[in-house]
Amino acid sequence: MTSKRVGIESSLAVSEAVRLANVDVIAAYPITPQTHIVESLAEMVANGYLDAEYIPVESEHSAMSACLGSCAVGARTFTATASQGLILMHEVLLVAASLRLPIVMAVANRALSGPLNIWGDHSDAMITRDAGWIQIFIENGQQAFDQTLCAFRIAEHPDVLLPTVINIDGFHVSHVIEPVYILDQKSVDEFLPPYKYPHPLDPDDPITMGCFAAPNLYTEARKALDASVRASKKVILDTWKKYGDLTGRYYNPVEKYKADGAETILVTMGSYSENAMIAIDDLQDEGKKIGLVRLRLWRPFPYEEVQEALSAAQNVIVLDRAISLGGPAPVCSEIRAALYTLDKKPQVASVVGGLGGRDISPDNFKTLIDLAMQKLKAGETQEIIMFGVRE
């Protein structure tokens, strides 16, 4: 394996991964902040660095719809979107999963209207949580590159055949220039086998895709899809192992940072984890028994790994970068559900913050942890802590 370390915007690192994956079709509509990904892909196609059909569709709905078509004839297919674009696609996302079309998508996560806000948070990803896609979160440009390549291998694996999304925090990751190791073509070709869709639309072997299911079959169809999404974890773990062996960069569904033996564990997802790490370093230096756990695999939800990582702690503080209006914060609610069946469960505090691009600096994280600890000590864990809100 050889790779080159370059300073590159994370969006462009994703495009490099897509180029190395030698995709056949890209269909995209310009919604900032994913725009740089598809702009650079368009440029590669225009200059012959990537041999692909680039479909400049007239909406995000059509972007994902075109992806259904190209994927169904057996072409390796990629798109990128964000925010309103992702929720405009929502209807089509469910079909991609139910037709078992292994489309790969990068989402530069950001807030949803209203009010209109173009900055980052996880609102868009949470709304599409139940669509049947494999969903992976990353924290920096290197991970964005690595996971985009892994996504093709996972999605297209004959035991999986499910669409896969890489969630990249809008602006905080997508627009940041970082050092990234870009793999060489030969290594990518060894890691990523050619796409071979088992049942393409083919006049020599005509199939019907997208039948309707009456009440006598719908439940079975949904059950089968759910089982497939859950079963995909095996291939995800295997792919990450292979990628780790190739590059030395290993990934796990749940990743711990100085969390062993910690009394209190902060749980984060996405790029704010890196600020949280700095806060954890400082707090440990001060002698506090606090660690960090980052959730990487969002769907299928890694119950066992979450239980393993958190069960020994007394306190868990979960940060959500999305709000479920009138309900529990989405990541926290799933963490709580995963812990509920344990005999000895930690107390869980739920914090919502970093909405619509608001920063949470390492110092902010310390304040956030203090606030949460007060609530945990007082046993007030029902209420969500809205961090940094000006009342």
Binding site: V57, L201, P206, G210
Partner: protein
């Protein structure tokens, strides 16, 4: 036409690509039209079908009536899916040694074409994908229970634009989809009707020869929604054409040709009186429809370079 009818059936392929046993209503003109379209398309075809009657009657899991590769995903996106299929095949040919010559076809009803699917159709036509779009226009959302669409004709009563004490039903004129398609400067646009099998097949044959997008709008008689006798399906379509209500024409590279002209059009009354959806119309309403039909027919005649009679 009369002499053609004697020998032409022998020239038509016996192969069908939509099998009998589908669940269309008796007297369905749309499924007849689909059958002729498929005959003319042949086996080297991939169909992207919008949600609607033809999807529902042909594919209850685990059955299918389709003998060509066929995909249904959603209501409003048949053209976008077709764009993806066409682009995917192009990439496969260029990069992976794919050699088959396949025609990509998107199809939908009037709602899936002129209402909810208009944006994705416009996008696909504008981008110039090599595909045929076929609109099977039965003039309302029949699959969901006869709700009005923008293709429902003036004066028709539907469940969402019903005739009542204060309403004569649909109060807007039929949206001119062929003109909208032609405004994308595509090479071939045509209208046809489920009662004219050879016309349908000839026009599909022409569209197949076009490299790039083409659009065919087929009036498809719907006894269920039109509240007409199911044994009059062929008659109804012919009356729509012979009264001038549905002109049959082609637009080739912008040039109009009127395929069926008559020294004297039949009165619209002949067509309207056989359908329950028009039963409430007054003499004044009928006169208004008659005047509009003549104006529109003369407009097409003029576009086709004919003298106004």
């Amino acid at each position: 036409m009369e002499t053609l009818a004697i020998y032409a059936p022998k020239l038509v392929t016996a192969s069908d690509y939509i099998a009998s046993g589908h669940r269309a209503c008796s007297g369905c003109g749309e499924v007849l039209a689909v059958r002729y379209v498929c005959k003319a398309l042949g086996r080297n075809t991939i169909i992207s079908n919008a949600t609607g009657c033809m999807e529902i009657v042909s594919t209850p899991l685990p059955e299918t009536a389709w003998e060509v590769p066929w995909i249904h995903t959603l209501f409003e996106n048949a053209s976008a899916v077709a764009s993806g299929i066409e682009s995917g095949l192009k990439a496969l040919k260029r990069k992976h040694g794919y050699t088959k010559e396949v025609k990509v076809v998107a199809m939908g009803g009037d709602g899936g074409t002129a209402d909810i699917g208009l944006q994705s159709l416009s996008g696909a036509l504008e981008r110039g994908h090599d595909f045929i779009y076929v609109c099977f226009d039965n003039e309302a959302y029949m699959n969901t229970g006869i709700q009005r669409s923008s293709e429902t004709p003036f004066g028709a009563s539907t469940t969402t634009a019903p005739a009542g004490k204060l309403s004569m039903g649909q109060h807007t004129q039929k949206k001119n989809m062929p003109a909208i398609a032609a405004a994308h400067n595509i090479r071939y646009v045509a209208t046809s009707c489920s009662s004219y099998p050879f016309d349908i097949m000839n026009k599909i044959e022409k569209a197949k020869q076009i490299k790039g997008p083409s659009y065919i709008h087929i009036l498809s008689v719907c006894p269920t929604g039109w509240r007409s006798a199911s044994n009059l399906t062929i008659t109804m379509g012919r009356l729509a054409v012979e009264t001038g209500i549905f002109p049959m024409y082609e637009i080739e590279d912008g040039k109009y040709t009127l395929n069926f002209d008559y020294p004297k059009l039949r009165p619209v009354e002949d067509y309207l009186k056989l359908q329950g959806r028009f039963r409430h119309l007054t003499k004044e309403n009928t006169a208004e429809i008659q005047e509009h039909v003549l104006t529109e027919f003369n407009r097409i005649r003029m576009l086709a370079g004919k003298k106004i009679k």
